[in-house]
Symmetry: C2
Subunit: 623 residues, 2 copies
């Protein structure tokens, strides 16, 4: 069956087979449109104008449409069938409500990009019509809709007019921000079909970019890179110190991140076979420090009591304000921060999870070098931040590594030990999720005690533990647990977990658990009140929920309610890119959040001390 | 009598003697304020708050003011006398209506600068007040007045906040455009007393700058320079050709003029003892070609039929958009064009002369390389442009020179010839006004005929003419008229007018006279309907009205109604700098003007041929 191109308003181009009705296409693509009589051609309410490719009207259409309407190409969307390429226009000014489903999240969004375009054919001046070039562009725009009346223009765009008026027929495309009447760009010819955007999640360690088509919501490519700021320090505090103590420190860090974004834009557009000039919108999220460094603000105040950011508002700017190389008519949108250590990335997570609209009480935990936790529903949201440290990301762990080829990513304790390796190669180290599994197994099989101390082999009493006893070795004269490989020359490289590694994980999980408990206490909630636990972040997507509960990272009662939602910060950035309304909502959601400063809580020390412990095992031994 | 400093709202600082009442000061300085009872202290309506320097209240004040008002420093302006330095605040939000008189023009303007400032003292964050730095600046601004609520901020200014919050007490001054709530600048400490602007008149040949205090309207210095674009061509057409035919031509011309403006800013601020960083507003006027080159727009369309500019609207931009080096929080305002060859300079002339408000029909003639003419009143304004050529400026004239030292600037024909020389030195050439006088004298004394041809000595019949006959010499074998000096080695260098010079002047005055006549015809006016003839431009200020009428540049009937108004374009630029309302009015005035394209007029050829002739003299001889 042959395929045709059907162009809906806002240049939404849909491939359609011969014979499909427009109603079917709209339903399939999630375009909101009313069919009051259910699509039987009776009510005549689903009128559209077929400006290209209108065929003869059906008898049913002749009954409800006037001759004038028929002559103008008006047809009923429920009855009109695709026979060839078509262009469909709506009779009202309403924006197309084109819904797309966000992968990994059970939610759809109506596409409503920040940038819009208008194609114009402008007459040239004659002795009888001496309007200026800009005046005739303005007049043509005014005829396109009320929102374009009394148009203004940016100075650099005004300068481009003489070049555009010289092309044949003075055909050009005007670029606008949010249906505002200021012309941000004028492009030669008809470029109205090209409108891309890229959403960035700027992590302390990793930056991810999502290139999307702003008409269809389709993801064209996903790219990622190590945050090059790591050369100035692995964690936010060392970067803040660098920014504050070096005369050009702030600039170095700002340029490092924007340079990385420009490289990612190059990579993403190359892989999608498009031009970086087709990109008109960028959204960016990150923790408060990443946010300030990206915007170019000295983040020093974030590191000093009372840990207040310079700015929390959602920010917009031109690409040149951020040294970003996309279409200069485009715009950059930075999502709002919440508090000193609860940044725009958390605002994006709240957006992606519809946290501020939920009836149910939910807990969302974004695990990274810093862990951000939010608890609540549409009525009240509490949030806090914990310095979990890099243990979850495999850093500062003896055999630790990021989740890359060669990393053991999951470990199962049974009669013996089983593990899986990323890329199915010989293991060279372990990543965070496997460290969690290992420690969970050690706890559950009585190989370490509640305080995290390795048992001496003779202390082990757990039946499974006994079988694993041989793996309790000494490494650099200290106790350790061997996962794979051996120390003789014949076998593969040993991968093990040391006492120090366990202490690192204890600190990390203790910090996270403390945050969860203090938020619950402040909210006045028990575990049973929480309907859902959402684990976000790259790490959150890989860890085993049982292991997380076994070590006490998440309260054990919640194990059955854990849901992995992947990179929700990135998904929120994408939402804010596809929908101006969602971007505005992020600001409202962020302002709704009450920040809880954990260190100021009177119970902090005792809760933290208790959270460092592992849960007692019924059949484990006590030291 | 000792002097004190009295500071009125908007930082208007007035020097006042001991004992003067505030009412007297306000009247003297043109500050609009109501004194319903005439200043007798009876009605209690002229309340002001004396925030610094309030003395004990008078008994009359105690009768009309409450104890609370008195405690708050409220006093009556009609009764309060200056005893020392004082700060006076108005109780209503109204802007101060401070009138200044523009020299050379019979009009005053209420000062209302485009840029305003607010001094702020901002609290720092504490554990109990964790608002962000920007939020606390916003909140402090909101308390200053409704116009500052929900303030926005420019990204580069946001980046400056951490540096400002570190200063003692976080004292800063916010800079705004036109009471808009977007912060354009934040400056360390209290800079609210500094607000300067500079108005530029960008002529084809000369650029003039007026540095003024935007609080008082006081002119701090006037600077001028040759337009360095002359290196690319003396007239607008040769510059347009250069811009269009060289790849970097437009940029060369744009940088030439903006570079000159930056130099003039340096010169003006140095001479006034201020900093270029104190300048927050620039206005610029020029003909359409100068306008386009200054804005950075290719002016090619202005030179090609149908001679339409790219843009006529009043334009605003940041200093960096124009490569201008003033305070980056400042703004640049370009006045509107009227038509292809009637530019923003004419719009400024109309503004300066209140042309669009006048009941009387007036004619304004701005004489330069291009001559712009406007005719009309508040009901209808016609305008045209004539390519007068450079003769009026002394260029392309055998002994011609600009009005500088050594130039003969006026010539009187009596029993013999008398002349004055700029700088009272030996003459080295003549400038436009003297050329006009000379030709007028030659016409009136029968030494040239109606067609401009030199008489042979024997043809001269006019009594005065006969005495001057010896000055009719031959130069390069052609007739000429010797004004000063001689050809022998002993005397000073000869200054003379040749037949070719007379032809040049005939073309120039013919073009101007044609414009005046065609406008009068189109308007349906006779000379007697015109109440006033305003001569603008540097040249217009020097020429002798009688000479202008004697050669037929201005209709002879209007001689008694001629008024010199000096550089009215520059005065208009200054008005638009001192008053945002006047700037907006320039746009309205410009749009009101009907442009008359002289070349399209069916009578053009015959009127031009007739206008080239000199008026017939009753007692002169005919050839």
């Amino acid at each position: 069956m042959s395929k045709h191109k059907v162009i809906f308003p806002q240049n939404l181009i849909i491939e359609a087979e011969t014979g499909a009705t427009l109603k079917e296409l709209m339903n399939r693509e999630g375009i909101e449109f009313d069919f009051p009589c259910g699509g039987r051609g009776k009510c005549g309410k689903c009128k559209v104008r077929i400006s290209t490719g209108a065929g003869e009207p059906l008898d049913e259409e002749k009954r409800v449409l006037t001759a004038k309407e028929i002559a103008e190409g008006i047809r009923l969307a429920c009855l009109t069938r695709v026979k060839g390429d078509m262009r469909v226009e709506f009779l009202s000014d309403k924006k197309i409500g084109h819904q797309i489903l966000l992968s990994g999240l059970d939610r759809t969004v109506a596409i409503d990009p920040h940038i819009n375009k208008k194609y114009l054919e402008v007459d040239k001046a004659t002795v009888r019509d001496m309007r200026t070039d800009w005046q005739r562009i303005k007049d043509r725009l005014a005829a396109q809709g009320d929102e374009y009346r009394n148009a203004k223009i940016r100075l650099p765009v005004l300068r481009a007019i003489p070049g555009l008026m010289n092309n044949t027929g003075a055909k050009m495309t005007a670029v606008f921000y949010n249906y505002n009447n200021k012309v941000r760009g004028l492009e030669n010819g008809d470029t109205s079909g090209r409108l891309l955007g890229i959403a960035f999640d700027i992590g302390t360690t990793t930056i991810v970019g999502y290139l999307v088509d702003l008409y269809t919501g389709k993801e064209l490519s996903v790219v990622s890179t190590l945050n090059p700021q790591t050369q100035y320090g692995a964690d936010v505090i060392s970067r803040i110190t660098y920014a504050s103590q070096n005369p050009r420190g702030l600039d170095d860090l700002h340029r490092a991140v924007t340079g990385a974004l420009n490289s990612l834009i190059g990579e993403a557009t190359k892989s999608a076979g498009v031009s970086r000039n087709d990109i008109y919108a960028i959204t960016a999220v990150g923790n408060t420090c990443m946010h300030h460094l990206f915007v170019g603000i000295n983040p020093q105040s974030v590191a000093l009591a009372p840990y207040v950011p310079v700015v929390s508002d959602a920010l917009q700017g031109d690409p040149s304000d951020f040294n970003l190389e996309i279409n200069p008519a485009g715009k950059v949108f930075v999502l709002p921060n919440i508090a000193g250590f609860v940044g725009a990335d958390t605002a994006a997570v709240l957006l992606a999870t519809d946290f501020d609209k939920s009836e149910d009480i939910r807990l969302v935990v974004d695990i990274g070098t810093n862990g951000e936790i939010a608890l609540g529903n549409k009525d009240r949201i509490l949030a806090c931040s914990t310095a979990a440290g890099p243990a979850f990301e495999g850093a500062q762990i003896t055999c630790g590594m990021r989740g890359a080829t060669g990393a053991i990513d999951h470990v199962t304790f049974g009669g013996n030990l089983e593990y899986s390796v990323i890329g199915n190669v010989e293991p060279i180290g372990i990543c965070g999720s496997a460290l969690l599994d290992t420690v969970a197994g050690l706890v559950e099989n009585g190989l370490i005690d509640e305080r995290g101390r390795f048992m001496e082999p003779e202390e082990v009493t757990h039946p499974v533990g006994k079988k694993l006893k041989d793996r309790l070795i000494r490494y650099n004269e200290k106790p350790a647990f061997l996962i794979s490989g051996s120390f003789d020359d014949t076998g593969s490289r040993p991968v093990l977990v040391t006492q120090k590694d366990i202490r690192e994980l204890q600190l990390a999980k203790g910090a996270m658990a403390t945050g969860i408990k203090i938020l619950m206490k402040n909210y006045g909630l028990q575990a049973e009140d929480i309907k859902e636990v959402l684990l976000a972040g790259a790490f959150g997507n890989y860890l085993d929920p049982h292991s997380a509960c076994a070590i006490g990272l998440i309260p054990a009662e919640l194990e059955g309610r854990i849901k992995m939602i992947g990179n929700a910060a990135g998904a929120g950035a994408k939402l804010a890119l596809l929908s101006a309304a969602e971007y505005r909502r992020a600001e409202q959601a962020a302002r709704k959040v009450e920040f809880v400063e954990l260190g100021s809580d009177p119970d902090f020390t005792s809760v933290f001390a208790e959270s460092m412990l592992f849960p007692a095992q019924e059949n484990g031994s006590k030291s």
